[in-house]
Symmetry: C2
Subunit: 208 residues, 2 copies
DNA sequence: ACGATAAATCAACACTTGTTGATATAAGGG
DNA sequence: CCCTTATATCAACAAGTGTTGATTTATCGT
C-alpha cells in the first residue's frame, strides 16, 4: 500500500485529457440541441458547455463567439435538401402530397436537420440574422423548384411562400405550441390531412 | 448627446409630475409593443420604461414584476374574439373564407390585439406559460365553434388545430420571417389564396 | 393648511451573461 | 529529449438584467 502508483493521483482536472476527445463535435451537438430546445437567448454558453461536459471557456476557444457557434449549427445537410427538391418531380396531381411529406419528414426526421431547423425557427423569432437565414431557406430553395411548374414568377413566389409558411405553421403547432390534437396525431395522418390543402395553394385556382 | 444646457435650473426631475399622467397606460402600450417586437427576453424593463418616458423602477412599482407586466399585456379584447366567433356563422361553403379573413384581420388589425398576439407567439417560443396561453387561444376558442359543424370530436380538434396552425404560419411568414413575396402581397390577395386551402382542411374529404 | 397617499427618480444590490487572459496538461515532430 | 501546438480549466471582468429601499414631488380628502 502506500505506493502511489499511477491511478490515485489526478487531482487537478485541468489540462488536456488523454486520448482523442471529439469534444469539438460534442459541443456542436450540445449547441444544436440547446438552441433548438431553448432558443438563442436562453441557450447559454455555460449550459451548452455543461451539456458537452466541458468548461465554458473552451467553447469560446473553439468557436470564437456565441454568434459563430450559432452559425456553425445553422446548416442543413445537402442530402436532406436534395430529398426536398426531388419531391417536385412527378405528376402535378400529387404535388401537394409530395411537398407536404418532404417538408414534414424533414422537420421531424434526423435530429441533425430537424434540430437545426427548429433552432432556426426559434431564433428567427428573436434574431433578424436567423430570420434572414430561414427566409432564404423558404424562398430560394423552394422557389427554384416550383417556378418552372407555374405560370408567372410573382404567382409562383406567393404560392410557394404560402405553402412553406403554412407547413411551417403546422410544425409550430405540433412541436412548439404543442396543440394537443396535433402533437398527438401521428405524422402520416397529418400528412394525409394537410396535403390536399397544400395542393390547393400550389396549383389550385384563385381567379375563378 | 442631447444634453439640454439651458441656464435655468428646473430643479431635479424627480417627484410626481403635474397633471394626470396616464403613465400606467403608456407603460402598458410600450410593453405590448416591445414584447411584440423583441420577444420576452430581449424586451427589457429599462427599454420599456424608456419608451414610456419613465424610470424603470416605476414600472416595477405599477406592475410588480416583469412576469406580471407580461401577463397584463397578454389579453385579447372580447370584441375581437366575438368577431372571430361570428365568422363561423353562415353557409359552410364559404367557411374557409370567413375563418381565414377573421384570423388574418385579427392578426393584422388593431395593434391592441395584433401586438398582443405577436408577443404571445414570440414568447410562446421561449416561455411555456405563453405557449399554454397561445395553445388555449388556438384550441378552445376555435374548437368550441367548429365542433358543432363537424362529425366527431377528434376529427374536429385535428382539423381546427391544423387550420389555426396554418393560418398562424401565414402570419409568421408575413410578419416575422418576412418572406418577401408574402410581406409585399396585400392582405386581401392573401386571403383569396389561402381561403380555399383552409376550406379544404376544415371540411374537405380525406377518407377518399 | 395639513397629512396621507400616489407618482416619480436615484442609487445600488445580487445575479447572470459573453468574453478574456493566464495557466496547466497532453500530443506530436525534430 | 525538448519545443511547439492543441486541448482543457480557472478566475475574473465588464456589461446588462430584474429588483429594492430611500427619497422627492404632486394630488386629494378632510
Amino acid at each position: 500500500m502506500t505506493e502511489d502508483g499511477n491511478s490515485t493521483l489526478p487531482p487537478s482536472r485541468r489540462g488536456r485529457r488523454p486520448g482523442a476527445s471529439g469534444t469539438r463535435q460534442a459541443i456542436l451537438d450540445a449547441a444544436r440541441a440547446r438552441f433548438a430546445e431553448d432558443g438563442y437567448a436562453a441557450a447559454t454558453i455555460r449550459k451548452i458547455a455543461s451539456d458537452a461536459g466541458v468548461n465554458a471557456a473552451l467553447v469560446m476557444q473553439f468557436y470564437r463567439s456565441k454568434d459563430e457557434l450559432f452559425a456553425a449549427v445553422m446548416s442543413i445537410s445537402p442530402g436532406a435538401l436534395s430529398r426536398i427538391e426531388q419531391a417536385f418531380d412527378g405528376p402535378e396531381q400529387a404535388l401537394g402530397e409530395r411537398v407536404t411529406r418532404a417538408h414534414l419528414t424533414l422537420w421531424e426526421g434526423d435530429p441533425r436537420d430537424s434540430e437545426s431547423l427548429l433552432a432556426m425557427l426559434r431564433a428567427a423569432i428573436s434574431r433578424p440574422q436567423a430570420a434572414a437565414q430561414l427566409r432564404e431557406f423558404i424562398q430560394a430553395r423552394l422557389l427554384k423548384q416550383i417556378r418552372p411548374r407555374l405560370r408567372d414568377d410573382h404567382d409562383a413566389a406567393v404560392r410557394s411562400g404560402l405553402a412553406s409558411s403554412m407547413l411551417m405553421g403546422v410544425i409550430v403547432g405540433r412541436r412548439i405550441v404543442q396543440v394537443p390534437a396535433l402533437a398527438e396525431e401521428d405524422l402520416e395522418s397529418v400528412i394525409r390531412r394537410v396535403a390536399p390543402a397544400i395542393q390547393t395553394v400550389l396549383t389550385g385556382g384563385m381567379e375563378v
